[in-house]
């Protein structure tokens, strides 16, 4: 089971290539918001950048708050997303302690599914897909739902 991590964010130059890759490849959107990883400046550009990303909680508060099973617990941490079950209630976003879930203007939630597609688009190697061990069957299911 793999998890996306951001171990070298000090290297980030703020190009947003990771967010744009997630939007483009996973969600088929042009956006730096409707993406599983989002880059923000931490108080002006002179203080560097932070990545807003799912920390792969286990148990994940977002899954516990989801009333329909659209968000369910991913083995090893994080969430398996089944968009068809989502009723746009926004409780996942409210439950996430690290602001990793983004709601678009319709209330559709976007969160990292730890697929790692963004990693190759980081020019400074800030991101890493870390192997946490265990089966990756559910992860693939999550990707399938998203794409």
């Amino acid at each position: 089971m793999k998890t996306l991590t951001t171990p070298r964010m000090e290297r980030c130059i703020g190009c947003h290539s990771c967010s744009l890759a997630c939007g483009r490849l996973i969600h088929k959107r042009l956006s730096w918001d409707t993406a599983g990883i989002r880059i923000i400046s931490s108080g002006g550009l002179s203080t560097g950048f932070e990545a807003r990303i799912c920390l792969a909680c286990n148990p994940a508060p977002c899954t516990q708050s989801c009333p329909t099973g659209a968000y369910s617990q991913r083995r090893g941490g994080g969430v398996v997303v089944k968009k068809k079950l989502c009723i746009l209630c926004g409780r996942c976003e409210a439950a996430c302690p690290v602001n990793a879930v983004y709601l678009d203007d319709r209330g559709e939630p976007f969160v990292c599914i730890h697929c790692g597609r963004c990693v190759e688009y980081c020019p400074h190697d800030c991101l890493e897909l870390h192997d946490m061990g265990g089966s990756d069957v559910e992860e693939k299911e999550g990707e399938k739902e998203e794409s």
């Binding site: 130059i13 956006s31 918001d33 002006g44 020019p123």
Partner: protein, 580 residues
């Protein structure tokens, strides 16, 4: 999002109302430079002065903005306070992507706000706020306040002016996200004249991409070219200061108001020296994985014992040359301090440095004295220059106010026109020879980026004014195509016509892809028509004597060649301006 027309937000600062306007012409004018010119043609008041409240201030992006790497620039068009004619300036930062994500292709601002104001807009909101409390604040303080006042950190762009813009200096820039600028020909004054302190663009929209895999495939190809080949290495590595050592070696590096074109001390300010001593980190414009923005630091001991403050300052070849070698200052930390103080006032660093270089020589020659300059000006005296640049930015007295309107204007009053380093506006940092001097003096933006005259000079090519002018016109046309997409010009080796066509087709812009050359030519003509109709006459452009005294690696400047080039290029510009 991918549409056959332009969607424009037109905003009237007086009525505080916006209008969403649909403008045709996508397949004829593309976007960026083309769209900005089209909108100036539609909304500009060519018979009124630059500061007429009805003059538009335009920001335009292009069909590829945000969709591909390095499609990360915004084109600003306005009537310039510098020459009261049509002008264009380009900047990156997060401006282009933020504007893209608002869902508009351009922002057009007309009218003059009754009170100092900030405009903020996104995909679903528009607001004009009174901000009298920000008027008079320097650029850094303004940025801090605005970041606190508005949401969207990281996914917004803040365009702001400093005191120089407020007092309508013709050298006032619009600062973009702290480290980038709409720098030249006074766009900051165009904002100041509108009582507009800042524009906060919130990029909060999200748009569907074309079906199929073609787009992602072309994207990956472009991304690999810019990140895994050597094409962008220079910009990523040392950045534009990488040029300095070479320019000094070939005697093309302006030094002490262009009294010389090389000096041993210039090796103190090479790209390597800046990187080794001052570089903190690289940064990028949004949508560009290259990261050419180089941020250095200066620290200052403000109190004993050992109490320091530090500042982060972005550097590039152009500002480095202007407040560095041009002023005889070659210590990197001193140069960064001078850039910082200039930035704080909201002045364009290039223009300001070259203007103060003229003032220094005028002071040394006794044409102006301390009753005008307030302090003694001396080449190499960085401490004095910190004060002088601040005086210039804040228009501290009549002399500095006049100098802020352009070096030639001050020289006309005080003398010293022969050594005013003006090529349409204050010179860029290349003393490469005849082709560059003519290119900047007559170029539409009076920028080294109008065409590659500086590179042409460095090639072993015979002196043939027809061939040189052919090159300038063709190169300008090719660059216009890029700045209508809108690409960063650093990517010009990547975005060759076939790749541009592939990008356009992958998004469904087949019409644009099939007629790029015609479109570029059409935009080139329109821009020159606008420039001409607002008063530009190439016959009145002079190249001051100082440029004719330059000695480069090729020897002394050839005055006959310079004049014949100027005549030939003037003629071609007039022909371009006549084409419809």
């Amino acid at each position: 999002m991918i549409r056959d027309h332009f969607r424009i937000l037109k905003l009237d600062l007086l009525s505080k109302k916006g209008d969403v306007v649909s403008v045709g012409g996508r397949d004829d004018f593309c976007g960026g430079s083309g769209l900005a010119a089209l909108l100036f043609q539609k909304y500009g008041r060519i018979d009124r002065t630059w500061n007429d409240p009805d003059q538009p201030l335009i920001f335009a992006i292009g069909p590829l903005t945000g969709y591909f790497p390095l499609m990360s620039k915004t084109v600003c068009a306005f009537k310039s306070p510098y020459h009261d004619q049509y002008a264009e300036s380009h900047a990156g930062g997060r401006s282009a992507l933020s504007l893209r994500f608002t869902g508009y292709d351009a922002l057009v601002i007309v009218g003059r706000a009754e009170k100092p104001s900030v405009v903020t807009f996104g995909s679903r909101h528009l607001e004009i706020k009174d901000v009298q409390y920000l008027w008079g604040l320097d650029l850094h303080s303004t940025g801090k306040m605005l970041r606190r006042m508005f949401t969207g950190a990281g996914h917004r762009s803040i365009l702001r002016i400093g005191p120089a813009g407020e007092n309508c200096s013709a050298m006032a820039c619009i600062n973009v996200d702290t480290y980038r600028h709409f720098g030249r020909l006074g766009p900051g004054a165009a904002m100041g004249a509108k009582n507009l302190k800042a524009i906060v663009i919130i990029g909060d929209g999200s748009f569907a991409l074309p079906e199929g895999k073609a787009y992602s495939k072309v994207f990956k190809d472009v991304y690999n070219q810019v990140t895994t080949t050597d094409m962008m290495h220079k910009y990523h590595n040392l950045g534009t200061p990488a040029n300095v050592a070479t320019l000094n070696k070939i005697k093309a590096m302006p030094y002490r108001n262009l009294q010389k074109t090389s000096d041993e001390t210039i090796y103190d300010m090479t790209g390597e020296q800046f990187a080794d001593k001052t570089l903190l980190r690289n940064m990028a414009c949004a949508g560009c994985p290259v990261g050419c923005i180089h941020v250095g630091f200066v620290r200052e001991k403000f109190m004993e014992p050992n109490q320091y403050l530090y500042r982060q300052v972005s550097y590039d070849h152009e500002p480095n040359f202007a407040v560095g070698s041009m002023l005889g200052v070659t210590d990197p930390f001193s140069i960064l301090s001078l850039i910082d103080v200039t930035e704080k006032t909201g002045l364009d660093v290039m223009s300001a440095g070259v203007a103060i270089a003229w003032a220094t020589e005028a002071f040394e020659k006794g044409l102006i004295k301390e009753d005008k300059t307030i302090i003694e000006l001396k080449f190499g005296d960085a401490k004095a220059y910190v004060r002088a640049l601040n005086y210039l930015g804040t228009a501290a007295n009549d002399f500095y106010r006049l100098l802020g309107q352009g070096t030639l204007k001050a020289a006309q009053q005080y003398g010293g026109q022969d050594f005013a380093c003006i090529l349409g506006q204050e010179m860029a940092g290349y003393a490469t020879g005849e082709v560059f001097f003519v290119s900047q003096a007559l170029g539409l933006r009076h920028s080294h980026l109008d065409a590659g005259g500086y590179a042409y000079d460095q090639k072993p090519i015979e002196k043939d004014e027809t061939k040189a002018v052919d090159f300038l016109v063709k190169d300008e046309e090719e660059r216009i195509l890029l700045t209508s997409m809108v690409s960063c010009l650093f990517a010009r080796e990547v975005y060759k016509p076939q790749l541009l066509a592939d990008c356009l087709i992958s998004l469904g812009y087949t019409g644009l892809a099939n007629s790029m050359t015609e479109i570029a030519g059409r935009i080139q003509s329109l821009r020159w028509r606008l420039r001409r109709s607002t008063g530009f006459d190439p016959a009145t452009v002079t190249i001051p004597k100082r440029f004719t005294e330059v000695v480069t690696f090729k020897g002394p400047v050839d005055l006959d060649y310079l004049n014949s080039l100027k005549d030939a290029y003037s003629k071609r510009i007039l022909e371009l301006a006549k084409q419809d």
